[in-house]
């Protein structure tokens, strides 16, 4: 089959301006995108830069966008991408610093962020015979997380990273989960406190895009939600988030449902004049249209006492 690859180009040693090169080549019917790239480099353009290593979907090195969607070039079969026509576009991931052509800065994209979550285990006491034995069942859940091969697909799918590249992102936060939830960890709160800092778990919008993108079914969003739930149950250390969650919890506990007016003012903090002033223009517009919920004028739901009982029992259980 004959296919034309339209490949993103950028060379910092020339003008550094992004462009595109087209390569038309003859390929075998079972060729992958990585096969095509190797052929281009061997036969027609030795200046084309890209990464690739294992060739069988294990190492994650060859992540790129194939016709706009993030794929591993080594498992992307060419025939699957030419159904609409014999052309395939290849680009680096979105929102990553490009070094050259399809090679981007993995350190900035993921590794530096993983380093930030203290990705190692500190156990208590000295292990018996040099081994810290643990029941197999206790590792079941973690084994899934440990199957991550750092392809970066979750970060590529993330909703927050396109607006804020400093967000730690699902890959690093999932790594934090792996250690926070390891039963051998001497302080299960340590990683949670690290990722509670700005740009961590509270910056995640829990949109579940990461779960949809992960090729290993690790469900990074659910891991982030578990870290947040642990933070909630053991005391949130992020000030603004703590106020927001405490107010949310108090109004559900007291009335069965949410007092939105109260949530708006208490999230800013009742003594935070500057924060409360910021709410005023929106509140004034809302009032003018008869839609601003008045704080603390909130009625209880029927059966609010029963909901409160469940709430308090669940809180107690967690302690």
């Amino acid at each position: 089959m004959q296919v034309t690859f339209k490949v993103y180009r950028k060379d910092p040693e020339k003008d550094g301006k992004p462009g595109r090169s087209n390569y038309t080549l003859e390929l075998a019917e079972d060729a992958t995108v990585l096969d095509a790239l190797l052929k281009i480099r061997d036969e027609s353009d030795s200046t084309l830069a890209f990464r690739g290593c294992c060739g069988r979907g294990y190492c994650g090195e060859c992540m790129m966008r194939v016709n706009g969607s993030a794929r591993l070039a080594c498992t992307a079969k060419v025939p699957d991408y030419i159904k609409k026509g014999p052309e395939i576009s290849l680009d680096p991931l979105r929102n990553v610093p490009v070094i050259k052509d399809l090679v981007f800065d993995w350190d900035a994209f993921m590794w530096n962020k993983i380093k930030e979550v203290k990705p190692w285990l500190e156990t208590e006491g000295s292990p018996v015979n040099g081994e810290n034995l643990i029941a197999d069942a206790a590792m079941q859940d973690l084994r899934k997380v440990m199957s991550c091969f750092y392809c970066g697909m979750c970060d590529e799918g993330c909703t927050v990273l396109p607006v804020d590249f400093d967000f730690l992102g699902p890959a690093a936060l999932t790594k934090a989960y792996r250690f926070a939830f390891d039963p051998r960890n001497k302080d299960s709160r340590e990683q949670v406190k690290i990722v509670e800092k700005p740009k961590g778990i509270w910056d995640c919008v829990h949109c579940y895009e990461a779960d949809e993108h992960c090729p290993r079914g690790i469900e990074p969003t659910k891991r982030i939600v578990a870290l947040r739930d642990r933070a909630f149950n053991s005391g949130i250390t992020h000030e603004a988030v703590a106020r927001h969650h405490a107010s949310f919890a108090a109004s559900v506990k007291e009335s069965g449902w949410l007092d939105e007016g109260r949530l708006a003012v208490e999230s800013e903090g009742l003594t935070n004049v500057k924060g409360l002033m910021k709410l005023l223009p929106t509140a004034a517009k809302a009032l003018a249209r008869g839609k601003a919920p008045i704080p603390y004028m909130h009625s209880k739901r029927p059966d609010a006492d029963k909901i409160k009982k469940i709430f308090e029992k669940a809180e107690q259980e967690e302690k």
Partner: protein, 293 residues
């Protein structure tokens, strides 16, 4: 056709225009609503699962007693309840534990049979598009509309789109725009987050998301955006002017709730759908709609 109606807090709180519009539309369609009044908040993805799973199980048990599926008008309520319901249905031991520890005191038990559906899903899966089409009195011809789903109406797959057939749910809003006679102004972020969940943790990022989605919609020539999620509405409509101030770019895009959009096609006038209650002015939409009828 009857549902246990779960309107959610926002439809009477921050977006009080939503509840009455939804009730009017349901009435016109002949969908009977038995409102669940003595049940709690879903937790909205803010409160932890160990607290909200029992509260949601109680809601499901109440609907089960009525023998009715639950209908919501909020993507967030739908998503959080669907996720809780998935855990409770999938694991009988977990369900038994929740029943024993939390519901037995009230003499309640959740047997795992309740369905949770958003109005959008109800229209396609239960009500039927042909039946809806037969009731259209004002095809919204000439209007360009962008869809915005709300994350929780699309993901996670096991709770929201568990079968290949139900994967269609990801396109219902796109389809509906055409069915009601309007033209779609498609946007790349229609299934992404509106930014509302991080408004208190990182306002700058939250507003950047508002600007991105509404700005793209405006560039595509949309008259308005439609959303089945009132939390998205709070951010996309309520905070649009702050997003404009942050980016220094005027957007001015009205955001309509799903029932308002359906209601206009069913022949309700803009006042009956409470369009005046929005923060971003809907005057242009109102005049275009008035010229149609």
């Amino acid at each position: 056709m009857k549902y246990a109606f779960y309107p959610g807090c926002v439809s009477r709180g921050g977006c009080p225009e939503l509840y009455p519009s939804a009730v009017k539309v349901a009435d016109k369609l002949g969908i009977e609503l038995d409102e669940l009044k003595s049940v709690g908040c879903t937790g909205a993805g803010v409160l932890p699962q160990n607290i909200t799973d029992p509260i949601n199980a109680r809601t499901f048990a109440k609907a089960e007693q009525l023998g009715l599926p639950i209908m919501t008008i909020c993507s967030t309520c739908t998503g959080v309840m669907a996720q809780a319901n998935y855990r409770l249905k999938d694991d009988p031991n977990y369900r038994a534990k929740i029943n024993r520890e939390y519901l037995a005191d009230e003499g309640l038990e959740y047997k795992g049979t309740t369905e949770v559906k958003h109005l959008l899903w109800v229209l396609f899966e239960d009500y039927g598009i042909e039946r809806l089409q037969s009731l259209i009195q004002r095809p919204l011809k000439g209007l360009k509309v962008s869809p915005f789903y709300g994350c929780y109406l699309r993901r996670p797959p096991e709770a929201i789109t568990p079968t290949k057939e139900l994967n269609r749910r990801k396109a219902y809003l796109d389809e509906l725009i055409g069915i009601l006679g309007a033209e779609m102004a498609d946007i790349s972020g229609k299934g992404k987050c509106c930014g509302f969940p991080i408004l208190s943790a990182n306002e700058e990022n939250s507003l950047a998301m508002v600007a991105k989605h509404t700005g793209e919609s405006k560039e595509k020539g949309a008259d308005f955006m439609v959303t089945p999620c009132p939390l998205c509405h709070l951010n996309l409509d309520g905070n649009q002017s702050r997003a404009e101030a942050q980016t220094g770019k005027e957007i001015d895009l009205p955001i309509l709730h799903l029932p308002q959009f359906v209601g206009l096609a069913l022949g309700f006038n803009p006042n009956e759908m409470n369009l005046k209650r929005h923060i971003v002015s809907t005057t242009d939409v109102e005049s275009k709609v008035s010229m149609m009828s």
